[in-house]
């Protein structure tokens, strides 16, 4: 038996809602709030039941509009690269600072998307990020944490 993607996603949401409902029941409320008409767990319990009901209906009822996706046309390779680069960017941004990590993230993303015009890749990374940082940090006075530039004495 083949389950349609929509029903499979709904099944996942059904399981998630059951977990959500279970966790909602575990929320510890103040003793004097236990029997109150509304406490911190009331709304989440309603939501858990609503999730179970709606996803259950999608699973049970016949699917009138079928969504077909041709997986041969999906570019898994590029998207995995982009997500990995984004995760690495998130991991290093606090350590090596905003300027360097963002510029390297942009260059790596351009490269993995097939770009090879190095001059443009450079212009739209280091100088672009520098201008952007100047706008935020210098003009709008929005604090940008960058240990590297602070160490070099470029920003205060």
């Amino acid at each position: 038996m083949r389950i349609s993607p929509t029903k499979f996603i709904s099944l996942l949401f059904f399981i998630f809602s059951v977990f959500y409902l279970y966790t909602a029941h575990q929320i510890v409320v103040f003793t004097f709030d236990e029997n109150a008409p509304f406490n911190a767990r009331t709304f989440p319990i309603y939501l858990g039941w609503a999730g179970i009901l709606i996803s259950g209906l999608i699973i049970i009822l016949p699917e009138k509009i079928k969504i077909e996706v041709n997986h041969k046309h999906l570019d898994y390779k590029s998207i995995i690269y982009l997500i990995l680069i984004s995760i690495i960017y998130g991991a290093v941004i606090l350590k090596i600072g905003y300027f360097l990590s963002t510029s390297l993230f942009l260059i790596a993303s351009y490269y993995f998307l097939g770009e090879r015009r190095w001059l443009w890749m450079f212009l739209l990374s280091f100088p672009f990020v520098a201008i952007f940082m100047f706008l935020l940090h210098g003009v709008l006075n929005i604090y940008l944490r960058d240990p590297l530039l602070q160490y070099l004495g470029i920003i205060g």
């Binding site: 993607p5 929509t6 996603i9 709904s10 949401f13 809602s17 959500y20 909602a24 929320i27 510890v28 409320v29 103040f30 709030d33 008409p37 509304f38 406490n39 911190a40 767990r41 009331t42 709304f43 989440p44 939501l47 609503a50 999730g51 709606i54 209906l57 999608i58 009822l61 009138k64 509009i65 969504i67 996706v69 041969k72 046309h73 999906l74 570019d75 898994y76 590029s78 998207i79 982009l82 997500i83 984004s86 995760i87 960017y89 998130g90 941004i93 606090l94 963002t102 993230f105 942009l106 993303s109 351009y110 998307l113 097939g114 770009e115 443009w120 709008l140 929005i142 940008l144 944490r145």
Partner: protein, 498 residues
């Protein structure tokens, strides 16, 4: 009143104040285009500068920044599908598809005209009806707000579901679940944080909207890059199109603008409702008004679909000044920041503001209107240049969208966890979009989640746990009956579909 208007005009039309409003509009547009920096942030950034001016000029600067930021937010919604603030989410529904069809210039022009018209009509309402409307807005109680928000969620699910109402409702529940993460607003009890301190403040709106709109849109473009149909669509992204609006489109806008202005203004007057609900409701209402042929175009670049939320969100911005100026109650986050600024000037907004500082009351109202005129004059010639963002090749544009999204989050928290969370939500959203699970209901539910819980809590506590509050007040009952009608209609439609 005429005397007051003249006092206001006299103050607002001085050379110094015109220059101030122009600078404010320009700065607001630039700040509004940056992800995560909406009108509230823009005004907050201006507060220290305004203290260098007299109160009237300071408020004029803030009014210019306010409208500029709203327009800037619409620009990024239309061009990049990256709404920086909740009020411009509905603008992206038809604005972005229009830009994809090579009509970016036209979409921006329609947004500018609609915003201007919505602002103009609501400014007139503000002049005439401000005192009496503030009394009506105070008559809204928690059950009415709860019902109004349920109506908003149902309406947005109905119009964005494309015949798959249950899918849209599932996204509503998911949005409400995400909003429930963090500390309970009344008791401060942690919910669904699993001991993680990063979640104790909940998930920020900017994170959710960047993940589900901007980032997942960028990932979807790459993901479907090999799809021959999608590739053909991308070619048209390089076309900017004309900013001229033809006769047929003008007629469509002329029909949409009055009704969306009225709705937007009235919703804006209600404390807590604001531009977001106004824009979503206007979009839903407009879809019900147009012909079946036009209805099919919604979500694919409809003029009505773009004009309605743009008109309504600007009208609601003006409307939100009613409770602020007449009662001293800020109706939205942005007006709350403005209240802070007014108090900083030593001005206490409220019923006595008319008597004690008439020049401030009227000059704020007049400068809001002048701000809109300046915005239109400034931004229309700039549209072809702003729209050139779309001509940036895909290999550069996608990383830049990712960069803006991640920067928006980084600026807010300086926290790796938020970046990982955003990437995770964006990946899930990309797969959900692939199978046509709509994102707008999720966003609106997330925005309204806390407010719905608040109002449900108050209603249930007042009625001692009984659900009779749903039918005790005629207003609540009427709003709920409309909601039930929409749900019933959607179920009926899905049953009769072959």
């Amino acid at each position: 009143m005429i005397e007051g208007i003249l006092i206001g005009l006299n103050t607002a039309l001085s050379l110094q104040n015109i220059i101030i409003v122009m600078i404010g509009c320009f700065a607001g547009t630039i700040i509004g285009m940056l992800p995560g920096l909406g009108p509230m942030t823009a005004i907050a950034l201006m507060i220290p500068i305004t203290y260098g001016f007299d109160p009237a000029s300071g408020l004029i600067l803030m009014a210019g920044v306010y409208y500029g930021a709203v327009f800037g937010g619409s620009t990024s919604s239309i061009l990049l599908n990256a709404p920086g603030v909740p009020g411009t989410v509905a603008t992206a529904f038809d604005g972005y598809p229009m830009a994809q069809q090579g009509k970016a210039g036209k979409a921006l022009a329609i947004a500018a005209y609609s915003s201007f018209a919505g602002g103009t009509i609501s400014a007139i309402f503000l002049l005439i009806a401000a005192p009496s409307l503030s009394k009506i807005s105070l008559s809204f109680r928690s059950p009415d707000y709860f019902a109004l928000m349920m109506l908003g969620l149902t309406a947005v699910s109905a119009f964005s579901s494309k015949g798959q109402f249950l899918k849209a409702m599932m996204m509503v529940v998911l949005g409400l679940m995400l909003a429930s993460i963090g500390q309970d607003s009344l008791s401060d009890i942690s919910r669904f944080t699993f001991g993680n301190m990063n979640l104790s403040d909940g998930i920020s709106f900017v994170l959710i909207v960047m993940a589900t709109f901007a980032m997942s849109e960028a990932l979807t473009i790459i993901f479907r890059g090999k799809d021959p149909n999608r590739a053909a669509k991308q070619i048209s992204l390089t076309e900017l199109g004309s900013i001229k609006v033809n006769k047929e489109e003008t007629i469509k806008m002329a029909k949409t603008i009055p009704r969306s202005s009225i709705l937007g203004f009235l919703i804006g007057v209600l404390p807590g409702a604001g531009a977001t609900i106004a824009s979503f409701l206007a979009y839903g209402m407009e879809r019900n008004y147009v012909s079946d042929e036009e209805k099919e175009k919604f979500g694919k670049g409809s003029v009505h679909g773009l004009s309605a939320p743009e008109t309504a969100n600007n009208a609601a911005c003006s409307g939100s000044f009613v409770p602020l100026l007449t009662l001293g109650i800020p109706g939205s986050g942005t007006t709350a920041v403005m209240l802070g600024a007014l108090l900083g000037f030593g001005i206490q907004p409220g019923p006595r503001l008319y008597q004690t500082n008439p020049e401030i009351f009227w000059s704020v109202i007049m400068s809001m209107y002048i701000g809109m005129v300046v915005l239109l004059i400034l931004n229309l010639p700039l549209i072809p240049y702003i729209a050139r963002i779309l001509a940036v090749p895909r290999n550069f544009l996608i990383p830049l969208i990712l960069f803006f999204s991640i920067t928006g989050i980084y600026l807010m928290s300086f926290n790796n966890f938020d970046i990982y969370l955003m990437i995770g939500i964006a990946v899930v959203a990309t797969f959900l979009r692939l199978y046509e699970f709509p994102m707008p209901p999720l966003i609106l539910a997330f925005v309204l989640g806390k407010l719905i819980e608040e109002n449900l809590r108050r209603s249930l506590l007042i009625s001692d746990g009984s659900f009779s509050f749903l039918w005790d007040r005629p207003l609540t009952l009427i709003i709920l009956l409309i909601t039930i009608g929409i749900v019933g209609w959607q179920i009926y439609r899905s049953l009769i579909r072959k």
